[in-house]
C-alpha cells in the first residue's frame, strides 16, 4: 500500500485539491495553488500539540476534582459539593441512574479521554505497529464521547441560572468549574489536534 506521503502527494485541507509536493528548501512551505491554504502531509506539530494539551488537561484535572464545583443552598441546608461528593450524594439519595450518568460524564470520560489520547499519542510517537485498526476505532470513539464530557459544566451553568429562589434555594458555581471546563476543552482540542494518520505511519497493513 502506498501512502500519499510515499509518493509525495497531498490533498489540500481546504479545497481537497490533490497536489504533488516537491521538496522545498527550509523556511519554505507549500501552499495550495488553488486556494493558497498551506498544504502538508501531516498536521503540523500534531504530537507536540497533543502532548502539551494533555499535560495541561491533566494539570487542571486535579483542581477540577478536588475543589467545590457547586454550592447549593436549599433551605435550610447548605452544601458544597465536589464532583465526587455530588455523585455520592446522588447515589445515597437513591438517584442511581443520575449518579451513574454524572459519574460517567464527569469523572470517567475525562479520565478515559486523557488515558486513551495519551496512549494513542505515545504509541504513535513510538511508531508502534500494534493493532492500528483498533486504535483508530478508539480514536473515533473518543471523538464521539468527547461531546458529552461538558455535561457537568452545563449542569452547573443551568442550575445557577435556573435555581435562584432567593433565600430558599440557590446554586452558585464553585471554583472547580473553570478547571473542569478547562479539562474538557483541552482534551477536546487535544483529540482534535491528534492526527489519526500517525497511527498508520508505521503500522501499515502491508
Amino acid at each position: 500500500m502506498i501512502r500519499g506521503i510515499d509518493v509525495r502527494l497531498a490533498a489540500c485541507h481546504s479545497c481537497e485539491l490533490v497536489v504533488r509536493v516537491p521538496d522545498f528548501e527550509d523556511h519554505a512551505e507549500a501552499a495550495c495553488p488553488r486556494c493558497h491554504a498551506s498544504v502538508r502531509f501531516r498536521k503540523r506539530n500534531a504530537r507536540t500539540y497533543v502532548v502539551a494539551l494533555l499535560v495541561a488537561a491533566l494539570a487542571l484535572y486535579f483542581p477540577a476534582n478536588a475543589l467545590t464545583i457547586m454550592y447549593t443552598e436549599q433551605f435550610p441546608e447548605r452544601r458544597a459539593d465536589t464532583i465526587l461528593s455530588g455523585v455520592k450524594f446522588l447515589w445515597e439519595r437513591g438517584s442511581w441512574g443520575l449518579a451513574m450518568i454524572v459519574f460517567a460524564a464527569s469523572i470517567l470520560v475525562p479520565v478515559v479521554k486523557l488515558g486513551a489520547l495519551g496512549f494513542l499519542v505515545v504509541s504513535a510517537m513510538r511508531h508502534s505497529a500494534w493493532r492500528p485498526r483498533a486504535r483508530t476505532r478508539l480514536y473515533r470513539a473518543l471523538e464521539v464521547i468527547g461531546h458529552w464530557s461538558m455535561l457537568d459544566v452545563f449542569v452547573v451553568a443551568l442550575l445557577t441560572a435556573v435555581v435562584q429562589l432567593g433565600q430558599f434555594a440557590r446554586v452558585t458555581p464553585g471554583p472547580a468549574v473553570l478547571p473542569f471546563a478547562g479539562v474538557v476543552i483541552l482534551t477536546m482540542l487535544a483529540s482534535a489536534s491528534f492526527d489519526a494518520r500517525a497511527i498508520w505511519d508505521r503500522g501499515m497493513c502491508e
Binding site: V7, R8, L9, L17, V18, V19, R20, V21, P22, D23, F24, H27, A28, E29, A30, A31, C32, P33, R34, H36, V39, R44, N45, T48, Y49, A52, L53, V55, A56, A57, A59, L60, F62, P63, A66, L67, F75, P76, E77, R78, R79, A80, P175, P179, G182, L186
Partner: protein
C-alpha cells in the same frame, strides 16, 4: 529531492512555495505551563483558605449535622463541621470542625464553643433563629495567644464573652439559693451584669460566685458595695407587718444578686478586678449598719415559747434592739418544772442618744453596765413575750416596765451575760381568759339538760299515744251518730214537705175548706154590719120587715 517523479503524477499541480512564517512551535507549551500555574494557584489558594481543623467534645450532638451545621462567630460562619463521631470512651460526642483561614485565631486556648439551639429560660428565649436554620456551634474567641485544636464544648452559651467590656468580681456565699449561671446582677433594680460562674468552693463550705459587671457599671462596684441575694420573693412577716421585696419578676423565678451601698458609707473607690465580696441573705441584712457593741442577754421564761425562735426580735420602747439567738429548755429539779432559757443579743447603740445618755449617767455615778441594768430592773424592767399581731400570731420579746412587778430576780452577770427577769406574756393572759371561758362552758350540765329534755319528750310521746288510742275512736263514733241524726232530720223534713206542700195533701184540703168557711163567715159578718149601719135601731127593735139586708 532527487527522487524521480512518478510519471503518473507528473500532470498534477504543484503547490506554490512561500516563505514559511518563522514557526514558534513551542508556543503550544505555554498552554500546559499556564494550566499548571493555574492549578497551582488554585491549590495554594485552597490550602491557604483552609484554616485549622479543631476537635470539640460535647455531651450531645443534638441538632448538629455534618455539612449542614456550621461554626459561627458573632453569627458569621467561620467553619464547617466535617464529622460528628462518638468518642472512643463512648461518653461524649467528638465534633471535628474545619475553620476558615481567617478564623484561625479562634483556635485560641481559652476560646469556648457551645451548641446554639433554641433555649427557653426564665430570663428569656434565645436561639429562636436556629429553629429554622438548625443548630450551629457558637464560638467565643479567647484572648490567649496559645493555640490548641482540642476543646471541650460548653453545654450552655457562656453568659459573658471575651469581647464584652466590664469587670469580674468574686462573691462568697453560704448558700446559692436559686442563683445560677446567667442569673442577673442588679444595681437599683437595673440589670448591670450577670453571674458568669458559680461553683462550690473546693472545701465545699461555701459557694464561689463570679459575677461580670458590664462596663460602665463596673465602676459602680466600689470597695464599700454590699451584695445580697435578690432571689425569689422576699416575703417577711415581722412585728412591723408584712414585707414583700423583689428585684424584678425574673428574679422571682431565676434568682439574682443585687448590690447597693449602706447609707452613710463613704463613696469608696472602684473595686479592682477580681475583688471579693460577701453575699448577704437579704437586703435588710446587707444594708443594716454593722453594730459595734453586742451585749449577750439571757432570760428565763416559765412558759412555753411556741412561736418564738432564733431571730425573734427584741423590742425596747418600740426600738428593735436585738434578736434571739437560741432557746434551750431547762428542768428545775427543786420545783420539778420546766423553763426556757433564752439567749439573745442586743445592740445598745440602736437606742441612739438614749444609750449615750445612759452611758453618760453611769459614768457620772460610777456605775457599771450591769449595775445600770440592775437599776432599770429595780424600776420594773421585765422581758415579756408579746404578740405583735393577733392575725399572724407573730411574737416578739418586749422589754417593758412593770412598776408593780413581782419580786425582782437579782440581775447577776453570769459569765458576762446580762440577765433580765421575765413576766408572763400577754398571749398567756389571753390564753388564760380563753381557758376560763372554756372551763365555764365546760361546767354547764349539758348531760342533765339533755336528760330532762328527753323525759319531756317521752311524756309528750305517751300523751300523743293516749290521744291516738282512746279519744280518736270516740270522736269517730260521735261523728257517725251525728251523720245518722242528720239523715233522720233530712227524712223528717222531706216528709213534712210532702205533707204540707203537695196540692192534694190533707192539710192543704183542710186549710182550703177552713178558708172557705172563714170567707163565708166574713161575708155574713159584712152583711150584718151593713145592715146594722143602715138599721142601727134593729139592735133594739129587732128586725123590721122589709127587704133583706145585703
Amino acid at each position: 529531492m532527487s527522487d524521480p517523479v512518478d510519471p503518473r503524477f507528473e500532470k498534477l499541480p504543484v503547490p506554490v512555495a512561500r516563505q514559511r512564517r518563522p514557526g514558534w512551535p513551542s508556543a503550544v507549551w505555554l498552554v500546559p505551563i499556564l494550566a499548571v500555574v493555574a492549578a497551582g494557584v488554585l491549590a495554594i489558594r485552597a490550602y491557604l483558605s483552609a484554616g485549622p481543623t479543631i476537635e470539640i467534645t460535647f455531651d450531645s450532638a443534638e441538632g448538629l449535622e455534618v455539612g449542614k451545621s456550621d461554626v459561627r462567630y458573632k453569627n458569621v460562619p467561620v467553619g464547617k463541621i466535617t464529622s460528628v463521631e462518638i468518642t472512643e470512651d463512648q461518653r461524649a460526642i467528638l465534633v471535628k470542625v474545619k475553620l476558615e483561614s481567617g478564623a484561625a485565631s479562634l483556635a485560641a486556648k481559652d476560646s469556648r464553643f457551645w451548641v446554639e439551639r433554641p433555649r427557653i429560660g426564665v430570663g428569656g428565649v434565645s436561639g429562636v433563629g436556629t429553629l429554622l436554620s438548625g443548630a450551629y456551634i457558637g464560638v467565643d474567641r479567647g484572648t490567649s495567644t496559645d493555640k490548641t485544636d482540642r476543646f471541650v464544648g460548653l453545654e450552655k452559651p457562656p453568659g459573658v464573652t471575651h469581647d464584652q467590656a466590664g469587670r469580674r468580681f468574686r462573691i462568697m456565699a453560704v448558700d446559692a439559693g436559686s442563683l445560677g449561671v446567667q442569673s442577673p446582677v442588679y444595681l437599683r433594680r437595673q440589670q448591670v451584669g450577670l453571674i458568669s460562674a458559680l461553683a462550690l468552693s473546693p472545701d465545699g463550705k461555701r459557694i464561689d460566685i463570679e459575677i461580670f459587671i458590664n462596663s460602665p457599671y463596673d465602676r459602680d462596684v466600689t470597695d464599700t458595695a454590699v451584695f445580697w441575694n435578690a432571689s425569689g420573693l422576699d416575703v417577711s412577716i415581722d412585728a412591723s407587718g408584712l414585707h414583700l421585696d423583689t428585684q424584678s419578676l425574673a428574679t422571682v423565678v431565676a434568682g439574682g444578686i443585687a448590690f447597693g451601698f449602706r447609707e452613710g458609707d463613704p463613696p469608696g473607690h472602684p473595686a479592682a478586678e477580681g475583688a471579693q465580696f460577701n453575699l448577704f441573705d437579704d437586703r435588710t441584712h446587707a444594708l443594716a449598719r454593722p453594730d459595734p457593741t453586742r451585749l449577750p442577754l439571757a432570760m428565763r421564761f416559765h412558759q412555753p415559747l411556741r412561736g418564738v425562735g432564733s431571730g425573734t426580735q427584741i423590742d425596747f420602747e418600740g426600738v428593735r434592739i436585738g434578736q434571739i439567738d437560741a432557746i434551750n429548755l431547762g428542768y428545775d429539779s427543786t420545783t420539778h418544772g420546766f423553763f426556757s432559757d433564752v439567749d439573745a443579743t442586743i445592740y445598745p447603740e440602736r437606742l441612739g442618744a438614749a444609750f449615750a445618755a445612759l452611758v453618760d449617767e453611769g459614768r457620772r455615778r460610777g456605775k457599771t453596765g450591769p449595775q445600770m441594768l440592775q437599776a432599770l430592773v429595780a424600776r420594773g424592767l421585765r422581758a415579756q413575750v408579746r404578740s405583735a399581731s393577733l392575725i399572724t400570731g407573730q411574737l416578739f420579746i418586749a422589754l417593758r416596765w412593770f412598776p408593780g412587778g413581782r419580786g425582782t430576780t437579782p440581775v447577776a452577770e453570769r459569765d458576762g451575760v446580762w440577765v433580765v427577769p421575765t413576766e408572763r406574756g400577754g398571749t398567756d393572759q389571753i390564753q388564760d381568759q380563753v381557758e376560763s371561758i372554756v372551763a365555764k362552758i365546760d361546767r354547764i350540765p349539758f348531760d342533765a339538760i339533755g336528760g330532762d329534755a328527753r323525759d319531756a319528750m317521752h311524756a309528750a310521746t305517751s300523751l300523743l299515744g293516749h290521744l291516738d288510742g282512746e279519744v280518736v275512736p270516740t270522736a269517730q263514733q260521735l261523728v257517725g251518730q251525728a251523720g245518722a241524726a242528720m239523715a233522720a232530720l233530712h227524712d223528717s223534713l222531706s216528709a213534712l214537705r210532702d205533707n204540707v206542700a203537695a196540692p192534694d195533701s190533707a192539710i192543704q184540703q183542710t186549710t182550703r175548706s177552713t178558708l172557705e168557711q172563714l170567707e163565708n163567715a166574713a161575708r155574713s159578718l159584712r152583711g150584718l154590719t151593713d145592715y146594722l149601719q143602715h138599721h142601727p135601731e134593729s139592735l133594739l127593735r129587732g128586725r123590721a120587715s122589709g127587704p133583706e139586708p145585703r
